[in-house]
């Protein structure tokens, strides 16, 4: 429940940020750029390397081509700084170590994430994201032992994921790939004593999103993603919603 609330707060912040980006301060640029990825209705002059390194008489510059009304004039795309947030249910892979002693086990969890991306003029967009996943919990009944008396061990597995990466838009699909660091965190409670252990493995993630809603400066995708922290043997799938808004275009 706590994580759901966090996710909602992040989403709300994103929507607010996006609205701010479309407000009076941003109007000057947004009137020029209805969609930062779309070609401008009024083509801008573009500086061409050819104009400085080769005789202009031999190779006409892009601006000259535009001025000449050439049908092959390049589409101009503007870059933007984008904030995004994701909420998603997760399914973690793996099994508890002692299934015969495990009295309850939950493998469906929840993931929330926030990040910033640079939507470049090129086809790869770098991003940096931070997310937290509450992945699994379980109860294991331990029998009497020389070192402890019988009792129920409550276990919880969560993971922070800090991941730089790249995305690429292909039509309405968005591919995503990242390699970063996870902080895999497990918490235990046994006979009234609580304990937490952490591990810092490398993590990689790959996802495929589909953009199903888009207005100027704001987009919402459905996204499937796989995340694996190999060193900790933790991997999970998620299917969630990603909201993205441009805060600055340039």
């Amino acid at each position: 429940m706590k994580h759901t609330l966090y996710a909602l707060v992040v989403l709300q912040a994103l929507v607010a940020t996006s609205a701010f980006a479309q407000g009076p301060l941003a109007q000057g640029r947004s009137t020029q750029v209805a969609d930062s990825r779309a070609p401008l209705s009024e083509p801008h002059p573009v500086h061409s390397p050819a104009s400085s390194s080769a005789p202009t008489s031999a190779i006409p510059s892009a601006s000259e081509s535009v001025e000449a009304g050439s049908p092959k004039s390049p589409a101009v795309e503007l870059a933007s700084l984008e904030l995004f947030g994701t909420i998603a249910p997760t399914v973690v892979q793996g099994e508890p170590a002692n299934p015969h002693l495990t009295s309850s086990f939950r493998r469906v969890g929840f993931y929330t994430e926030a990040g910033v991306a640079y939507r470049s003029k090129y086809f790869l967009d770098p991003f940096l994201s931070v997310g937290y996943a509450s992945l699994a919990s379980g109860d294991t009944t331990l029998p009497d032992n020389e070192y402890f008396s019988a009792g129920t061990l409550e276990q919880h597995l969560g993971s922070w994921v800090l991941s730089p990466g790249i995305t690429s838009d292909i039509w309405r699909f968005r591919l995503r790939f990242g390699i970063g660091l996870a902080i895999v965190k497990q918490s235990f409670s046994f006979q009234g004593a609580s304990n937490t252990g952490t591990q810092l493995p490398l993590v990689w993630e790959a996802g495929l999103g589909f953009n199903f809603y888009e207005v100027p400066r704001f987009r919402i995708d459905a996204e499937a993603r796989f995340v694996e922290a190999k060193g900790a043997d933790v991997s999970f799938w998620m299917l969630g919603i990603t909201a993205r808004g441009d805060v600055v275009t340039f």
Partner: protein, 455 residues
């Protein structure tokens, strides 16, 4: 568009190239359906196996499996055939059948590969088999042959295999130590047992080891357990809730959340010592202390078991006598500091005992891994240098002259095993290829002089 897809595919594919390939091997130890002929027979007694089967055998058929010669040793309930071909071994049981034949059957394996299969042999000549079935312990001679066949996988054995007894083995019990490197096999082998598990200790003995090196760490609540790495890495353990550092979790949390790679429980040091003393004929254990915190709890356990062994060996019943050496391993200066602190504590406790008129409890013996001179200064009984520093025959001899044993770690390649056996003539070698080491020692090794502290 194509450029985009290719570029992204390469980016997405890169972790698969970067990822480590160390995953749990597919392991299938072959077995006879319904337990084979052993199930229908009467198992031979321990002394029968020891007296009648041990020796160097010439392989007259089946050389492609075992090479030209094989060492045969026995343990309670098993006959092991050891070779230096692919570090191969066979673990067999022996039983007298109702028709007075003696069958010796089980499985063979090359641990470094996925090759394994079944072996079924019969003792000949028939008179020897009959003697064994009559409960006698016939001494082997060159007429003794083990004749039968072997197979690949779970197929019924059909390929001819014959071993003929050639001569007795060189003395090794109490003299030369084939020390298993935290178990019978490497993590990447196909043995189907996890390193530092109870099961690997049992297999180590059957593959030619007469001592074992085990890695000791302590849990958050101070219980010494057997585990090599500081982290609960997926190469050693499994379990969704089994992550983090070993010393971050209590023993209850480890027990509830982790299993070893092949499904065994992470053993406590106490359980491992108990098992080795009660269920094996191993002659010693070298406790490789991974942290300074583990030294004192390990030392207490050693004191406890040494007291028990002393009582057993000094009572009137010789049948429960048991010689088993336990040594605290010191791999670096951090652990050495822990050893100093532990010794001070144990000596203070002895002081209290003296004042109370009680018997002192001996301080455990130590093995120092790195500096030959420090071994003498610290009054340790053994030196465990890394093989990468070379054979160091002068240091080996210098320590031998003052009654200190040398056990090199960890040599797995046959050519290096041969080199160290012939150049250094150590008291033992730590290895993950016990079959190779044992057989090579039998072929070219020199029997070391006995060292009192190891007896």
């Amino acid at each position: 568009m194509n450029t985009k897809i290719w570029a992204f595919a390469m980016a997405v594919g890169s972790p698969f190239f970067l990822a480590d390939c160390e995953t749990a091997r597919e392991v299938s130890i072959p077995g006879f359906p319904d337990g084979g002929l052993l199930r229908t027979g009467t198992a031979l007694e321990r002394e029968q196996l020891k007296i009648s089967f041990e020796g160097m055998f010439t392989v007259s058929k089946g050389n492609s499996l075992l090479g030209d010669q094989a060492s045969v040793i026995t343990k309670p309930g098993t006959v092991s055939v050891l070779t230096n071909k692919n570090a191969g071994f066979a673990v067999l049981g022996a039983a007298c059948l109702p028709d007075q034949r003696v069958v010796v059957e089980g499985y063979w394996q090359y641990p470094t590969r996925s090759d394994a299969g079944l072996v079924r042999l019969f003792v000949s000549p028939p008179e020897v088999a009959q003697d064994l079935c009559n409960g006698e312990e016939p001494a082997p001679n060159t007429n003794l042959t083990l004749t039968g066949s072997y197979s690949d996988g779970n197929d019924i054995p059909t390929k001819p295999l014959e071993l003929r007894w050639a001569h007795e083995l060189k003395e090794w019990r109490g003299r030369f130590f084939t020390v298993a490197n935290h178990g019978a096999c490497l993590v990447t082998d196909h043995c189907g047992v996890s390193t530092n598990s109870i099961e690997t200790i049992r297999l180590a003995e059957r593959t030619g080891s007469n001592a074992i090196e085990l890695d000791v760490r302590v849990t958050r609540d101070g219980i010494p357990i057997l585990f090599h790495d500081p982290m609960l890495s997926s190469s050693l353990v499994r379990g969704l809730f089994c992550n983090g550092q070993v010393n971050q979790l209590t023993f209850a949390e480890l027990r509830g959340s982790c299993m070893m790679r092949y499904g065994e429980q992470i053993p406590t040091l106490k359980a491992a010592l108990r098992m080795m003393i009660d269920e094996t004929e191993l002659e010693g254990v070298y406790l490789d202390e991974k942290t300074a915190e583990g030294v004192l709890p390990s030392a207490y356990l050693v004191q406890e078991f040494e007291a028990e062994l002393k009582a057993r060996n000094e009572n009137d019943d010789p049948s429960d006598d048991r010689k088993f050496g336990m040594f605290i391993g010191i791999p670096n200066d951090d652990v050495l500091a822990g050893w100093h602190a532990a010794k001070a504590t144990l000596e203070a406790e002895n002081e209290t005992r003296r004042n109370n008129g009680e018997d002192e409890v001996p301080i455990p013996r130590c093995l120092l891994e790195y500096d030959a001179d420090k071994v003498i200064a610290e009054e340790c009984v053994a030196w465990g240098p890394t093989w990468t520093s070379g054979p160091q025959p002068e240091n080996v001899q210098k320590l031998r002259d003052v009654g200190i044993a040398t056990v090199f770690w960890t040599i797995n390649e046959s050519q290096f095993i041969e080199g160290f056996l012939t150049t250094s003539k150590p008291n033992g070698i730590i290895t993950a290829r016990a079959a190779t080491l044992f057989h090579t020692y039998q072929l070219i090794g020199t029997v070391p002089d006995p060292i009192g502290v190891l007896q």
